[in-house]
Amino acid sequence: MRVSNYIIKAKLSDNKYLLFHSYTGALDVVNKKVGEYIENPKKNYIDKESLNTLTKRGYITDKSPREEEKHVLNIVKLLQSKIKTEYVFTIIPTYRCNLKCTYCYQDSIKRDNVSIDKNVVDKIFEIIKNFSYSNNKIFKTIQLFGGEPFLPENYKIIKYILNIGKELGYKFAVSTNGVCLDQYISLLKPKFFKGIQITLDGIENVHNKRRLKKNGTGTFKEIVRNIDIVLSKDIPLNLRVNIDKRNFENFKYLVKYISEKDWTNYPNFQVNFRPVYFVSKNRKKKYGFTNYLLYKKVILLLGKEYLWMNMGNITFPFEPIISDIFRGKGYAGFVAFYCVAQRGSVIFDPYGDLYSCWRTCGEKFWRIGKYIPKLTWEENKLNILKNRTVVDISKCRKCKLALLCGGGCVVKAFDDSRSLYNPGCEDDIEKLLIKKFPIIYNKLKQKNKEDTKYINHFFSE
């Protein structure tokens, strides 16, 4: 018997430890003695009863490391065979944008004046309808993405998209830079809009250096005005803050600004601080940031009282898995894949191409099909994406996060190593997870006590 290789252990503040076994799905709170035993069984002793419990829960195992690895792979294969794909649709009305943000990842793609027209929209909804006729599971919210979807000249076509979507029972969500949002307010009804994501990268002088118009002028004032409008309309607003080495030291002023604006008092408001990920190695070294760094800086700069904000997020569904365990939802919801881009995501671009990942739209290498003049799929690419699991990634097979992460982002893996079969996980993700694990646990515990409703924007860290 030996200690399993698949234990995530975190120290709780009250001399206890939190254990999660990442292939049995066991979640336990143990005392110091048991925690120390797990850490070093040769130097510590525990009673027989505890040992039996630890064995039953998977922490102590008679499997060899190789047998444990094999067991994990069996679970992945099972998940892969049983999971039913849920389709998620995104429409990109145009790749054009009215801004030239300093870190835009769409710089290299073709962004001429092409926008979709009514015929193309009809074609898109014909395809969406056929997906549902085929008895597929469909996520009933369509995402609008760009470029900038809410350019003033797009108004008519956006209105047309919304009307058809509504008739078919769809709701919408949009990622917009927020600059011209006021011109779209009449279309944004809370009943049909599940959410709007707007980005603000700092207080005025910081934001305006990063997210500027083509003529070089800033966008802060317009965006703030439009955030106020959206919040007053009861539409869920996700304020995204992109952080890299150029603005992280200033984000505390943005936090102060958000508090002063009283945005946090709106139940439809949430904020997400996200590190900017750079593909180029030079830029990554110079400007890059990670969720782990972000988390550490938050604690250093602001203190723990600001942890209610969504900072330093774990980039795989660890929190939902733990949350489901808390809510008594049976087996841990392990995953075989990292992301919907591998299964289920269908993005319609204005050139008649189909993609599955927002990050790679417009890059032909990642195209999964075409819908103009007729619908055709690039089956080889779909199969590669669909079948990429930790089973094929040797470095992931031994990883204790394998069933939580599913091999990481396929695009990041390719960006980093020019291979799809390398891990695509974020730097320091395990360190971040161990730091955040007790916080997630304590929050859920508190929630259970209060028997409060599950509220999205307070659940995430």
Binding site: T85, T315, C339, Q342, C409, S460
Partner: protein, 68 residues
């Protein structure tokens, strides 16, 4: 004389398990035949869902690193 009541030491809860259902040693065939396995609540269908908006509006977790 009143006897002094001796308090028994509280039994320490060494391991407090939060959940019961585990992906334990049963075979894949056994697992497949379990009724709970086919319940929609057990598995996250369609993979975890990677993109920001998708997760934001469903479970409130942001995944994607794409900067918008």
């Amino acid at each position: 004389m009143k006897k002094k009541k001796i308090e028994k030491p509280k039994k320490e809860n060494k391991i407090k398990s939060i959940n019961e259902k585990l992906w334990d040693d049963f075979t894949i065939e056994e697992l497949e035949s379990r009724e709970e396995f086919n319940s929609p609540n057990i598995l996250i269908e369609g993979g975890p869902g990677g993109c920001c908006v998708y997760k934001c509006w469903t479970v409130g977790v942001v995944f994607c690193g794409a900067a918008m």
